[in-house]
Amino acid sequence: MTRKNRRLMLVGGVVLGLGTATVLLFQAFRSTGELFVVPSKIAANAPKGDRAFRLGGMVEAGSLQHLQEGTKPAVEFRVSDGIASVEVKFVGILPDLFREGQGVVTLGKLRPDGTFAAQEVLAKHDENYMPGDMADELKRTGWKPENGAPPAAALWNAAKVGG
């Protein structure tokens, strides 16, 4: 074996070893990489006691209520992951993308009554990018944004023909 080949094997082996070590490390600390806890996993994954954590999921259709707390705007809505849902209360200004059917990540604490007192609400954006007139066309043919993501992009043109 030439010296070049030996160096190549060495570099390849070290990179492979480091990669394996990293994969094992992340497997062991999997939950620390998660940004938020979904409603059905609160019992298993949320921090115990009075500690704040991030709760994430989708704003359930028909659950959003606008309230007034003193002079400040407040909202109540349910965050769902399709299995379980949690009532969230928030006083403050919501991000522009917030709506029913949108993913959200909220930071706050679980109250003893099972509701979640949020001090911050962030809106998630999904991987779909769609012009306004296409969204109007899809809504006309029966798609409701509050029920979830639009149909696959490959079907958008079919919707236009069908509409």
Partner: protein
């Protein structure tokens, strides 16, 4: 430039001659391909940006804010692409001891770091109005920040030694250790739950983006690749010529002494 090329055989016979034999060919070859590569890159990038920023449709829920994508996404792709090319140069340096690979690695660092910084800055400007936060420590954003620090570490390390060769060696090892971060960046949005959305454009599935938005994005991305290649080539040429000037000056001083 041709003066420098013809001047090199006049150098005193030494190991330096062997070292510069290959870079000489590199200078001639790269001098020929650099102008077209730079022109194509500039033309595609400008065309894609004008299309994306002024003529492509607004998103149904993000409205005009979606146009940040035409800068943010190509910058993010180039940040990772640049690091992959840095890793390849580092392998060539460690295994084949290729002198051009050392110079290229030194020159890729600042260009890659600049695109990573652009990606982080535009992402932050996009995140505030849409998500409601400038920054969140989710897996995608944290891993891209780590990529930025890897670039900065490499830039500092290759220049930290009095003996250049040791700097190249240390930098190449750092670059290869950091390469584990690339799959982490790519799959962070699939492995963990994050605020950042998963990829819209994948190798395995149809893009989840209207063609009227996809085309300008791809134009900027391809233009950016050419631009990246042109920047690194121009910087590497400058580094080769700089070395040559230093060697010639040294030879001149020695001849006079």
């Amino acid at each position: 430039m041709s003066d420098v090329n013809t001047a090199s055989p006049a150098l005193p016979a030494s190991r330096n001659l062997h070292r510069f034999a290959n870079p000489g060919r590199f200078l001639r070859l790269s001098g020929r391909i650099l102008p077209p590569v730079a022109l194509i890159g500039l033309a595609l990038t400008v065309a894609g940006l004008v299309w994306g920023l002024f003529f492509s449709p607004a998103d149904w829920q993000q409205h005009d804010a979606v146009r940040i994508m035409y800068v943010h996404v190509p910058a993010a792709w180039l940040a990772s692409f640049g690091y992959a090319s840095l890793a390849i140069a580092s392998i060539a340096s460690l295994v084949w001891r290729h002198p051009l690979a050392d110079l290229a690695a030194v020159e890729i660092g600042p260009v890659g770091a600049a695109f990573t910084a652009l990606c982080l800055a535009t992402g932050s400007l996009w995140g505030k109005p849409m998500w409601g936060a400038w920054w969140v420590w989710d897996a995608r954003m944290t891993s891209v920040l780590v990529l930025f620090f890897l670039y900065l570490g490499h830039i500092a390390l290759v220049r930290a030694f009095d003996d250049q060769q040791r700097g190249y060696r240390a930098g190449a090892i750092l670059a290869l250790v950091g390469v584990v971060n690339l799959p982490i960046i790519k799959y962070s949005v699939d492995w963990w739950n994050t605020l950042h959305q998963p990829a819209s454009i994948t190798l395995t599935g149809a893009p989840t983006m209207a063609p009227s938005m996809l085309w300008p994005l791809l134009l900027v991305a391809v233009g950016g690749m050419f631009g990246f290649a042109a920047l690194v080539t121009a910087r590497t040429r400058a580094a080769v010529m700089e070395r040559r000037i230093r060697a010639l000056t040294l030879a001149q001083v020695r001849a006079q002494a």
